[in-house]
Amino acid sequence: MRTNLLAISMMLVLGSALAGCATSGDLEKVQAQQKLIDAKADQALQDAQAAKADANAAKARADEAEKQAAERERIADEKAAKADAAFQKSMRK
């Protein structure tokens, strides 16, 4: 009975040891892969941030252009109104 138990224990220890060896090889591979993925993620993040920055810049430019167009329109309206007011005043006796 004791012999059997010993044999089983040894088999378990051996199995565990063998399994441990396989895990360490795999671990290196996985770590390498992780590094690659991590680098890729960094790149993706950078790309996304750059794209977002570009989009924000484009939006800011569009907003600015819209603001400038509105400002130009306001100035044009103001000029027209001012000119018209001066004209109306000039029509008095």
Binding site: A80, S90, M91, R92
Partner: protein, 439 residues
């Protein structure tokens, strides 16, 4: 093998084919007609001053449209069609008065609801800036109508009943002390009286009203018709005051009212015409309440429900055009006075002339601007001064802007006078330009 055809079936097919064909033909007719109507030739002329008044009707004239051409201004269009600039601007919101887009079709509001006043003699509605002169009796009433310029907020035109006390051709203008003082403040010393001529603001004809100090007269500033620009007088285009002067005997009754909201009927259709009130909104509200009360009475009497939403829209838009509100009785003829398109005339009556450039003349540089529209607007405003100052837009040689050049002037004196007027009237600092080629 022969196919056997059932005659009844053939007959049904034939009937169906005939039906389809007739639908197609009718459709074609309708389409052609609508295209024809759409592309209908514009009318050469449209009545603008004299209209018969049918018994029971309050609405005269008809709306029209005209397509703008390059170089047109709304004051030129207004004068040609005997309208005030107020009326053309209100009927065409958003259109630039001085630099409108060529090709745009604009509305000529040549339809009017007669003011709520006795149809006798002269009736002036200050709010619509329009004068009506009635001739004839109830059987055959004719009305002549002209646009007017009226008093400013500070010096408003009077209201109430009066009469034409006397009339004068080629009047002398005795400058009132208040106007002389206004001009003195601007550095412009006026003489005690201004004889007939281009400098005389009364123009060539004047009808003196029984209310002392108030006149119906012509003008040397035709672009002011349809503006609040007088010291209480009513001024007309030169061509209109001549007609009125010849048509109006002394003692003709004159009623001056202020009715921004007009209600009237024509051919059994009820119309509402709304104008922006002259006074501050508070006073306009009283007139509005009167118009609403009138509409409520009509609604009650006729038993027809008015479209109050539409009433409100017309009132808010205030485009100065009679808008149908409701058909008063079933089966009445639809209003025959549909909007028509009028041909653009070869020459707009009264449009300021710009003489050709002369190398031996004097000029005045009125402005140096980057934007062409600004330059065109300024040139147009200068052209429409009274008496006119000719002005044009010249592109700068390096294509980096535009100049507004007033002239040509015969001598340095004329050029300096123009500089003075530009400064006093328009606050423009003009610079005298010597002739290119000395005489």
């Amino acid at each position: 093998m022969r196919r056997i055809v059932d005659p009844s079936l053939l007959s049904s097919w034939l009937r169906l084919a005939a039906l389809c064909l007739s639908i197609l033909v009718l459709n074609g007719c309708a389409a052609t007609r609508s295209v024809w109507l759409f592309q209908g030739h514009p009318e050469k002329e449209i009545e603008r001053n004299q209209f018969p008044v049918e018994k029971g009707d309050d609405v005269i004239g008809r709306l029209a449209t005209v397509r703008l051409e390059k170089g047109d201004t709304l004051p030129d269009i207004a004068r040609h069609f005997s309208l005030g600039i107020n009326a053309v601007s209100a009927a065409n919101p958003g259109v630039d008065v001085w630099v409108p887009e060529a090709g745009d079709r604009i509305v000529l509001p040549l339809s009017f609801i007669l003011p709520d006043a006795p149809r006798k003699g002269i009736v002036i509605n200050l709010a619509t800036m329009r004068l009506f002169e009635f001739k004839g009796d109830g059987k055959s009433l004719v009305v002549s109508t002209y646009p007017v310029g009226v008093g400013t907020k500070e010096r408003p035109s009077p209201m109430g009943q009066m009469r034409v006390a006397r009339k004068t051709a080629l009047p002398t203008w005795h400058v009132p002390a208040s106007i002389a003082a206004d001009h003195r403040k601007k550095g412009d010393i006026l003489p005690a009286e201004v004889p007939p001529g281009p400098e005389n603001p009364l123009g060539e004809y004047a009808l003196y009203l029984s209310k002392s100090g108030y006149l119906i007269h012509g003008t040397n500033k035709p672009a002011s018709i349809g503006l609040k620009a007088t010291n209480g007088c009513m001024r007309l285009y030169p061509e209109n005051v001549k007609l009125l002067y010849n048509d109006t005997p002394v003692n003709t009754p004159v009623v001056i009212v202020n009715q921004p909201y007009l209600v009237g009927q024509r051919n059994g259709v009820l119309y509402l015409e709304a104008h922006t009130p002259l006074e501050d909104p508070g006073a306009g509200a009283v007139e509005l309440e009167k118009a609403y009360a009138k509409l409520r009475v009509i609604e009650k009497k006729s038993g027809r429900t008015l479209d109050w939403k539409k009433v409100r829209e017309v009132q808010v838009e205030a485009r100065g055009i009679p808008v149908p509100i409701v058909e008063m009785s079933q089966g009445t003829e639809k209003d025959a006075a549909e909007t028509i398109e009028v041909e653009h005339p070869d020459k707009l009556y009264g449009r300021p002339e710009i003489p050709e450039l002369k190398m031996d003349a004097w000029y005045v540089l009125a402005a140096d601007v980057r934007d062409e529209i600004d330059a065109r607007r300024m040139a147009a405003i200068i052209n429409h001064q009274g008496p006119p100052i000719p002005a044009r837009v010249v592109s700068k040689s390096k294509n980096d802007g535009y100049r507004v050049i007033a002239g040509p002037f015969r001598d340095v004196g004329e050029a300096r006078d123009a500089v003075k007027r530009l400064k006093i009237d328009l606050e423009i600092e003009g610079i005298v330009i010597d002739p290119v080629k000395k005489i």
